[in-house]
């Protein structure tokens, strides 16, 4: 019987056209595809690791997350076909200017909702950064769950160190097992970067949002917001 992984990778070749290589590393590849019949764009990503989080995302649809159409895993590699999010990444936008408080808050609120869904599935994104956030119209969409993992009780530490230095929470580098509060740390850094262009350790945003960022980025996860819902309410 043909596996979903083999079936998907084979059909990508026959039913889709590769329009653009969005990213390529030794361990992963992200392609922009277009369906041969409909012309509809798709993102196809392959990477070393688990497709578990993507498999979970097959079950839900959220305006702040890409729609995952197919996710398969075989021999330590994952293949995922997902919705192409049309828009600019936050990284692109931040090169032009910092965000206003209202704009920054709106982005974080959308990401909180996206993470609410993700955390509800027992997953942690672990790689929240401007490159993984696309602004589609007025909505911010969180993409790229390659670094995501499903938290498991009893694990002392994550098995692999993932995440983007600067945005990743300290516990992602081996201090303890990551949970949703690691993403809250990253949201705090992201908010500060949107407001100041800098990491909070270098320049903390002023005022109430600065205090929220401080709480997000406490070294001890227990001192952070307990969940994205608490952060959302505080924003």
């Amino acid at each position: 019987m043909t596996s979903v992984y083999d079936f998907l990778t084979a059909q990508i070749e026959t039913e889709f056209l590769t329009e653009k290589q969005l990213r390529h590393t030794q361990r992963s590849s992200v392609l922009l595809l277009r369906h041969k019949t409909s012309g509809k764009p798709y993102v196809f990503r392959t990477f070393e690791g688990s497709a578990e989080v993507y498999r979970k995302l097959l079950q839900v649809r959220c305006p702040y997350l890409p729609w995952v159409y197919e996710a398969a895993q075989q021999d330590g590699r994952a293949a995922v076909l997902e919705e192409f999010i049309q828009g600019d990444t936050l990284q692109d936008l931040l090169t032009a200017a910092n965000f206003s408080q209202e704009q920054a808050k709106a982005v974080i609120e959308d990401l909180c909702r996206a993470l609410w869904v993700l955390h509800g599935l027992g997953a942690v994104h672990r790689d929240i950064k401007p490159q993984n956030i696309i602004l589609r119209g007025k909505d911010a969409v969180l993409i790229d769950f390659d670094a995501s993992r499903v938290t498991k009780k009893g694990s002392e530490t994550d098995t692999r160190v993932l995440g983007t230095a600067g945005f990743a929470a300290p516990e992602q580098f081996g201090m303890s097992q990551t949970d949703g509060r690691a993403d809250i740390y990253s949201l705090g850094v992201l908010l500060n970067v949107m407001l100041t262009g800098s990491h909070p350790s270098k320049k903390l945003a002023a005022g109430r949002l600065g205090r929220i960022i401080q709480k997000c980025t406490m070294i001890d996860p227990k001192s952070r917001y307990r969940s994205v819902l608490h952060l959302l309410e505080d924003l």
């Binding site: 039913e15 097959l58 649809r61 159409y69 197919e70 398969a72 819902l229």
Partner: protein, 413 residues
């Protein structure tokens, strides 16, 4: 293998998506997203909630309450409110009011007792009557007779300066047919609250025994003293004894104890009922003795020595060292009496009294060494000398105790 739900092409069993026709095989559920209670919304909701809460509390506070006492007392907003028929001396239970009345055929004759509202603050006996009265919108007193008795007559209570300690007072009129009535004070407060207090008031019909000179020998002091001895022996102590005295001069005096008497003097045009020796009134029980139209003509000594309450109406006193002495436990009330040619007309030397009658109306003090000698007077109410005449006295009034005496309506000749 399974087939696409749309195009029917074969798909792996676990496939979620058909790459041929781009059809999702199992429609995902829309995620339930958390809604943020925006601060403005929260603020508005908070304000609305606060208003609602305040309104609810306010409504609860404003909601008129009826507080009905199980008796004559209640506590209300830091005030201790009580109704009393017998004044402030009767602060201890039982609170039921009782009174006695003589049976009479005179429809206009009757009795009245003031039902009074007393208010104290925080149970510490600080009178707050005036303060509380300002919070009252109106009040009423009703009387509900028990067991087919007649209803007592009540009137809306008002402030009565005769009872300055009471916030309000209402005279309750009764006679022997009233039996027991439940008096109910209904006090409507300005804030909408209603206070209801209750007090039972029972009238006991007095046994009245009357003696007339045509029926019973009482022409001499000996006969009179013998009669009094028989009465003491034979008549219920609770009965009221009326003695209608003949127009004679009793060469002697009498002693009265523990019984209520009413002595009615008479005149044949030349002789008036007269006692020439001291009359003493003492009683362990709260009795009273009334003299109507009796003369007391002495030669030294004390005309009437009152150890209990004595009321003198139209009586004349002359020739005594002290004509009328109100001693401890008594109040001797005089109305339209004449004190003349005595060492002291009326001497007040009482530290306490159940009866208080401050009105000396129409009494004449003529040619006495001291007309009115005030050594000790129970209470602090001003004595009213309305219509009194002071003439020819060595000292009209010797006020040793310093009680207030109102002479504005008196004639000082």
């Amino acid at each position: 293998m399974k087939t696409c739900i749309r195009c029917g092409k074969p798909l792996p069993d676990d496939a979620s998506f058909c790459p041929y026709c781009e059809t999702v095989q199992t429609e995902p559920k829309d995620a339930e997203l958390p809604k943020k209670w925006r601060k403005k919304t929260v603020t508005i909701l908070g304000i609305v909630l606060l208003i609602a809460l305040t309104a609810a509390i306010g409504y609860g506070l404003r909601q008129p309450k009826t507080i009905e006492a199980d008796g004559p007392e209640l506590d209300y907003k830091g005030y201790h409110v009580m109704i009393r028929l017998n004044g402030l001396k009767d602060l201890e239970p039982p609170y039921e009011g009782e009174a006695s009345a003589e049976k009479t055929n005179n429809a206009n004759a009757g009795y009245a007792v003031p039902s009074r509202l007393f208010v104290f603050k925080d149970n510490d006996m600080v009178n707050a009557g005036e303060e509380f009265a300002a919070l009252i919108d109106h009040a009423s007193v009703t009387a509900a007779p028990r067991d087919g008795a007649n209803a007592m007559e009540t009137h809306d209570p008002v402030y009565d300066e005769v009872f300055p300690d009471a916030a309000l007072a209402s005279n309750v009129f009764y006679d022997t047919t009233c039996g027991t009535n439940d008096l109910t004070w209904t006090i409507a407060m300005k804030n909408g609250d209603t206070l209801v207090l209750n007090q039972a008031f029972t009238v006991h019909e007095l046994v009245v025994v009357s003696y007339y000179p045509e029926d019973v020998p009482m022409q001499t002091i000996e006969e009179l003293q013998a009669l009094l001895g028989r009465i003491d022996a034979e008549i219920d102590p609770a009965a009221v004894v009326n003695l209608y005295l003949p127009p004679v001069v009793y060469e002697g005096g009498i002693h009265i104890a523990d019984r209520t008497y009413t002595f009615y003097g008479s005149s044949d045009g030349t002789v008036n009922t007269t006692f020439t020796q001291p009359v003493t009134v003492n009683a362990e029980q709260p009795t009273y003795t009334d003299f109507f139209g009796v003369n007391f003509d002495g030669n030294g000594g004390t005309g009437i020595h009152a150890g209990r309450s004595v009321n003198c109406y139209d009586c004349e006193f002359s020739g005594w060292d002290t004509a009328l002495l109100a001693g401890d436990g008594s109040w001797a009330a005089v109305h339209n009496c004449v004190f003349q040619d005595n060492g002291i007309g009326y001497q007040f030397n009482s530290g306490s009294s159940k009866l208080v009658s401050t009105n000396f109306d129409g009494t004449q003090f003529l040619r006495n060494g001291i007309g009115l000698h005030l050594l000790r007077v129970p209470g602090d109410k001003p004595l009213q000398m309305n219509g009194c005449v002071f003439e020819g006295n060595g000292t009209d009034i010797q006020n040793d105790c310093g009680i207030s005496v109102d002479l504005s309506e008196a004639e000082m000749r």
